[in-house]
């Protein structure tokens, strides 16, 4: 394993330090609790917090900023954030309008956010609500009973609910909106190469030189099927077929499309996937309102991509187009 890092056990701490130092004016950082938060004194707004294991960057500390998240709690790599991190973040960021937790559906994440909510309630802290995100269609046919995983579709939830929260909307409506976005987004991905956990030092799974893993999870969990490599045309079709038939997305509907890199795949290849997906969706009669192509929710250095489709309505469109002043950007 080769990575740009010092000691593996300091991976997350040094990464978050780098983020805070890159944006000293807008971001606050509490190293002991691995919290990144908005430093500007926003008011009259429900605060949005997300958190999960690290290794999915830019998800989610890199989405903290006006118009998106207000704080993020980072756990160790691929492990849920600790209770105190969540509780402290909620206390710190609440502006009296309450705190909405946006949580991807994993046992550890759910359990820790749930405990944090109970603890905050117990201590008479801010009002807290939680919306669970579970957009991964790959898990449908499996025997796993922890339910569908939350993957890249979460970013659409942050974006839309984040934009809405800036309008001063109350916590119940925001939670409803979050669940509404979640109900309308579906994702599936595939891997060309496993990720390598910095503290483990070896790949999480082994793919042959001519194999790909369909429906892989964000922590290298096995997917639906391991198959031989094939032209991207064919693979992207498989992903889109699963996604489109799942909601289902109907001919004539309008979608936001996210082509999300898993960390080790260059944007050139993501745009090839984008080109292919456009052709396939056209054949389905599905209109792409806007394409989002980049690394949004990764799995360390995994190679591959996921595709998310979000079924749009006028409100979603409007909120997607609102600006988001987040640290991950080009200029």
């Amino acid at each position: 394993m080769k990575k740009i890092m010092n000691l593996p056990e300091n991976f997350v701490k040094e990464m978050l330090k780098g983020l805070a130092e890159a944006k000293p004016d807008t971001l606050g950082y509490i190293p002991e609790k691995r919290i990144i938060y908005r430093k500007d004194p926003f008011t009259n707004k429900v605060a949005l917090i997300s958190g999960s294991g690290s290794g999915h960057e830019p998800d989610q500390a890199f989405y903290v900023g006006k118009g998106m998240l207000d704080a993020a709690c980072a756990g160790p790599i691929f492990a849920a954030p600790t209770l105190d991190s969540i509780v402290d973040a909620a206390r710190l960021i609440d502006k009296g309008r309450g705190v909405l937790f946006l949580v991807k559906n994993y046992t550890g994440d759910r359990a820790n956010f749930e405990m944090a909510s109970e603890m905050i309630e117990f201590e008479g802290g801010p009002i807290v609500e939680t919306a669970i995100i579970n957009d991964d269609v790959a898990v449908k046919d499996s025997t796993f009973t922890a339910g569908r995983r939350g993957v890249a579709g979460a970013i659409f939830v942050y974006k839309i609910v984040g934009a809405k929260s800036e309008e001063g909307t109350n916590i119940d409506e925001l939670k409803k909106l979050a669940l509404d976005v979640n109900a309308n987004v579906r994702t599936m991905g595939y891997a060309l190469k496993s990720c390598t956990h910095p503290e483990k030092g070896s790949p999480t799974f082994e793919l042959g030189t001519d194999e790909i893993e369909l429906g892989v999870g964000l922590h290298g969990e096995p997917g639906r099927q391991r198959i031989k490599t094939e032209r991207a045309n064919v693979t992207i079709s498989r992903l889109l077929d699963s996604i489109v038939s799942d909601l289902p997305f109907k001919p004539g509907c309008e979608v936001a499309m996210m082509i999300n890199g898993l960390g080790g795949t260059p944007v050139s290849e993501l745009y090839i996937a984008c080109s292919i997906a456009h052709d396939i969706l056209k054949a389905y009669g599905i209109k792409v309102f806007k394409s989002y192509v980049n690394n949004y929710c990764t799995s360390l250095d995994m190679e591959g991509c996921s595709i998310s489709l979000l079924n749009l309505n006028e409100e979603f469109k409007h909120l997607l187009l609102m600006p988001a002043d987040i640290p991950i950007r080009y200029f």
Binding site: P76, G108, A111, T145
Partner: protein, 215 residues
């Protein structure tokens, strides 16, 4: 003779020492079917518990468990942090305000903790290959002891419960995980023991050992 509070703090000291000592065993089990951090997390959690032992001596019985639970949840992180934290907190809640609980109160509280963990885990069931596979049989054994057999000796009750927990833990080897991180391995998780179930066994064993010595 020791007060119940003294015994409880003594048991917690035993549990802490034994689980810290089990770091390597737990980590190795978790590397097979998880992400290899179970031992590290549990060690960090119970090292933090060791630091608050003096404080535990000064507070109410139910609060001792809650305090331990929050400490664990604050320091472990991941799934086991939430599960063990929940277990201790709910045990505290299950004791209600009782300062001198009888054996039925204790079994009620332990069952309350079991239900809390199952709820926290997303309705975990026996057979999902988690700590519940050790904890639920143990609690069922306790209920059986006090209910059907009217047994009141806590050492006997714990001894039987520990046996059930160990059996349950051994059984996880043959299961495919359905909850938690190991579930992502699906069938490939068969053949390995669940680390969380071993944590439960060590907790019960520590309680049994301590009680046997002190009563």
């Amino acid at each position: 003779m020791k007060t119940q509070k003294e015994i409880v703090v003594g048991i917690i000291e035993y549990i802490s020492r034994n689980l810290i000592g089990a770091e390597q065993v737990l980590t190795e089990l978790d590397s097979h079917i998880g992400d290899g951090d179970c031992g590290i997390g549990v060690r960090k959690g119970f090292e933090a518990v060791q630091k608050i032992i003096p404080e535990l001596n000064t507070i109410e019985l139910a609060d001792i468990f809650k305090k331990v639970g929050f400490t664990l949840a604050y320091t472990i992180g991941g799934t086991s942090g939430a599960m063990l934290g929940t277990g201790f907190i709910e045990l505290g809640k299950g004791l209600k305000e009782k300062t001198e609980p009888d054996i039925l109160d204790w079994v009620f509280a332990v069952n309350f903790a079991l239900e809390g963990i199952k709820r926290r885990g997303g309705n975990t069931k026996v057979g999902d290959k988690t700590m519940i596979d050790a904890l639920e049989p143990a609690v069922m054994s306790m209920i059986n002891s006090v209910d059907t057999n009217k047994e009141i000796n806590p050492v006997y009750i714990l001894e039987k419960a520990l046996t059930s927990a160990r059996e349950g833990s051994e059984n996880t080897v043959n299961l495919a995980a359905k909850k938690g991180r190991a579930s992502y391995l699906g069938e490939r998780s068969i053949g390995f023991k669940d680390p969380g179930s071993v944590v439960i066994c060590i907790i019960l064993e520590s309680a049994y050992d301590y009680l046997k010595k002190s009563v």
